[in-house]
Symmetry: C2
């Protein structure tokens, strides 16, 4: 290997160690840290973040990158070496274009914005958050200004989460999706509603936890290289390709949510665990983008975990565990209940058919704010109008409307669309998988998920961050990200359930 490449990898490994340590500080903060540790944890995260940033943006790494790009100019564009340089260049440019004093200001503004958001949501009073949101928008606009002019300013924000993705692409995808999804929702709304009362009774938490781990094991989650813990908001994090952890939560009034949370995070976890081991301590380790990540989590949660074949295998066991709750309930009713479609106010509780509507609403408002066309002060009104238009309901207050998500208070813009893109990609991959493994439903009915995991590993997981998201989807399915498979999937699924 080139001596300079060796040098670069040594420096990147050190940065990876720091980032992994930082991730552990974050994991602990959300799982086990006692409240007293909070202030110190903030200092620790800030110090390690600063050192990692300094080390990554060093002149030495810039010099090595430049030299190596010349050295590998004629090399195979799909080789690991060339791709490592490309991914590192992308991250390096993002990290070096943004001045240190901007980063510091961003941290100060968002710390205050988060506090204000917590208070605003508690009091359901948007005016408390509004001035902070205005600053967040202004910071995002300034962030954009550090980069070369793009087709659309929002491209720069998207690029933080989805390398190479354009605002025009996202708009085109969602423009195709929106009318079809609205039409489907209207058709469902005209049908009699399914029963899901059995989901909202008491279930034993420990039994549910144990069952969630049975499912994760069946999916192929490797407990020697991971673990599950509890947190207020479920998440997946990793400190190595061989130490990727998931969390889940128990909701008293919706106890089976724990199962779907675990399946969702298991999907993220399997993706991270599946990276080529040669990518350890390099920027190629781990998933390539939030949307592709979400395609994995949503696939295991929804296309697998809310499918009939899955429950044909698992339902008898579930009934045995919870005889009082579902012992006398037939599978068909259970299946319909866990797939109930209902317009609701809160994104994180939304079902498969309505979820994307929540995202489109946010995306449109975000783009408007970044363009300057939408003012923060008008947000509650616009939010409520779009909720009425897309889902036929109006939030009774801002806490259940415009204040429900934490993302803007963190300063994040450009993030939301990745959730919906993940849904679309999951269905797009699914059509390809169904063609490659025709007896997949039969396998699920026998509790076998190995062929699916092997397929995902080979086509997606093993490549880590090597390919850009659009490129990855194109390589695997032959087309760019496309809403059609997801619409086909929803239509077929809900035609069966609601008898459309």
């Amino acid at each position: 290997m080139s001596e300079k490449l060796e040098q670069l990898k040594t420096l990147l490994a050190e940065v990876a160690d720091l980032n992994n340590a930082q991730a552990l500080l974050g994991w602990d903060q959300q799982t086990y840290m006692p409240p007293g540790g909070n202030d110190a944890r903030g200092n620790q995260l800030a110090t390690i973040g600063k050192i990692s940033h300094q080390k990554f943006t060093s002149d030495k790494i810039g010099q090595l990158l430049g030299d190596l790009e010349k050295e590998f100019a004629g090399a195979d564009a799909d080789s690991d070496e060339v791709r490592l340089l490309k991914v590192t260049r992308h991250e390096y440019d993002q990290a070096t274009r943004v001045p240190a004093d901007f980063v510091a200001e961003f941290a100060v503004v968002t710390t205050k914005a988060f506090e204000a958001w917590v208070e605003a949501r508690k009091k359901s009073d948007f005016s408390i958050f509004q001035p902070h949101l205005e600053k967040v928008v202004e910071l995002n606009q300034r962030y954009v200004s550090f980069f070369p002019p793009a087709d659309h300013p929002y491209d720069v924000l998207l690029d933080q989460y989805e390398r190479g993705m354009k605002t025009a692409d996202v708009k085109e995808i969602f423009d195709a999706l929106r009318p079809q999804q609205v039409e489907l929702l209207q058709a469902i709304a005209e049908q009699p509603q399914v029963d899901d009362d059995f989901l909202h009774v008491e279930y034993d938490e420990q039994k549910m936890w144990d069952f969630s781990e049975v499912i994760a094991s069946k999916f192929g989650y490797d407990w020697e290289r991971g673990r599950q813990d509890k947190s207020a908001h479920p998440f997946t994090t990793g400190f190595s390709i061989n130490d990727v952890r998931i969390t889940t939560r128990f909701e008293e009034d919706n106890p089976t949510v724990m199962l779907f949370s675990t399946m969702h995070e298991t999907g993220h976890g399997l993706y991270e665990l599946g990276s080529n081991q040669a990518y350890e301590r390099t920027p190629l380790a781990g998933g390539t983008s939030l949307a592709v990540h979400e395609s994995q989590s949503r696939m295991w949660e929804n296309l697998v975990g809310r499918s009939l074949p899955f429950w044909e295998y698992f339902y008898p066991e579930f009934q045995k565990l919870f005889p009082g709750q579902v012992g006398n309930l037939d599978l068909d009713t259970f299946y319909k209940g866990i797939n109930k479609v209902e317009s609701s106010l809160i994104r994180v509780n939304a079902d498969e058919a309505t979820y994307n509507m929540h995202i489109m609403l946010r995306l449109e408002l975000e783009i408007g704010m970044v363009e300057g066309a939408v003012k923060a002060k008008d947000l509650p009104e616009l939010w409520n109008a779009k909720m009425e238009e897309y889902l036929g309901i109006t939030p009774p207050n801002d806490a259940k409307g415009v204040l429900q998500d934490v993302h803007w208070s963190y300063g994040s813009m450009g993030y939301f669309s990745t959730y919906a893109l993940g849904n679309l990609i999951s269905a797009q991959l699914w059509e390809k998988i169904a063609a490659d493994i025709p007896d997949l439903p039969e396998q699920f009915r026998k509790g076998e998920f190995g062929a699916l995991l092997a397929w995902l590993r080979e086509k997606i997981h093993v490549h880590g961050s090597k390919f850009e998201p659009q490129e990855m989807v194109q390589r695997v399915t032959g087309s760019k990200i496309d809403a059609a498979p997801y619409v086909r999937y929803l239509k077929q699924k809900y035609s069966d359930i609601y008898g459309l």
Copy 2:
């Protein structure tokens, strides 16, 4: 405040953040980390350790220290500022005198030594470990050579754990202790043995865990600033004055050990939690030395937790929890059972009366090795001879003899004596406490430990690392570390129990 002092504190705070992050990596490694994370964790610990060392040994800190020592030359020698400079100077000299390539070599040698020790202990074959121990001794001798000549080379090693402590002091203390402790043990051995069969039956682990937390709470452990988890070897660690965690363990064949482990670690934890908050992110935070730390843990474990007044309060509750095990057992028998004295092979299982003998044996061998008078190859024979001399028993094999402790494989020499010194200090403090709070036993009988904790906080905890161990003991008790109170304590306690 002096501008330079402000600068120094900023740099030290960054180092503290790194060290605290490293401590969390270590805590996780011993509590929750899945096995797959092991290699990556080693890299993370090494990277953060290296960066912390680089930052702490920077010329900038050296320059500031030198300037500030001049600036504060005439200031109150007991002020926090002067003491911060003194402690920092001590750590800075230790860190800068040792060359980086020595540190790297030390890490390599001890990694291999640890692996060899694990194998040697498993096979009970000292010859596997011997060449590694020879290298460890040689490294310790080289370590000593980096420092100015001391009265005794072992002083330099002791000074790593006990600032200012001299080999001559330790020898003098133990020379006074040894004959009296041997005499006591012989007297006990002539008496009929007490019964402790009831300790070695089955107890429910979860109930024992819950009871251990009840005791920790009564001692004043603050769960808002700490937590308890399980680990193979109990320990205490902290990432802030306000996030200090303990661990405990359950032994199937000796279930009550969990209680005493928790009490022991709670003692360490209370010390760390009690530091002056102004010391956060400075080298003054946390306990001043391992021996003073051990005085706190042993006090809560033994002088409190194995005392009759303590159990006069807690025994009825314990009996209610475990009616099958101790429901019909009188308190006197229980109290004698948990204080049974018996010569045994393994240090960590030793009782209060025999523990120090294990330490003296190790200390003498260590000093001999560092002096060059004792050769590694002769160690098993010397070990067994001393065991016979001090405790009247001979290990049947090396696993239960010279190979039982991990410390040498880590490269640690100078550490063992701190355990015994801690015992001595605990009794020395206890005599002072008994004079200051005459009704302490009455308080314990009512389950009240607040006055004891308040005393410890005011006299010891709040000062963090401000005072050297000998200085601390002198300030609080009026004398230097002295074996006499511990001997008086043992004699009185065991006279009652064994009717001497």
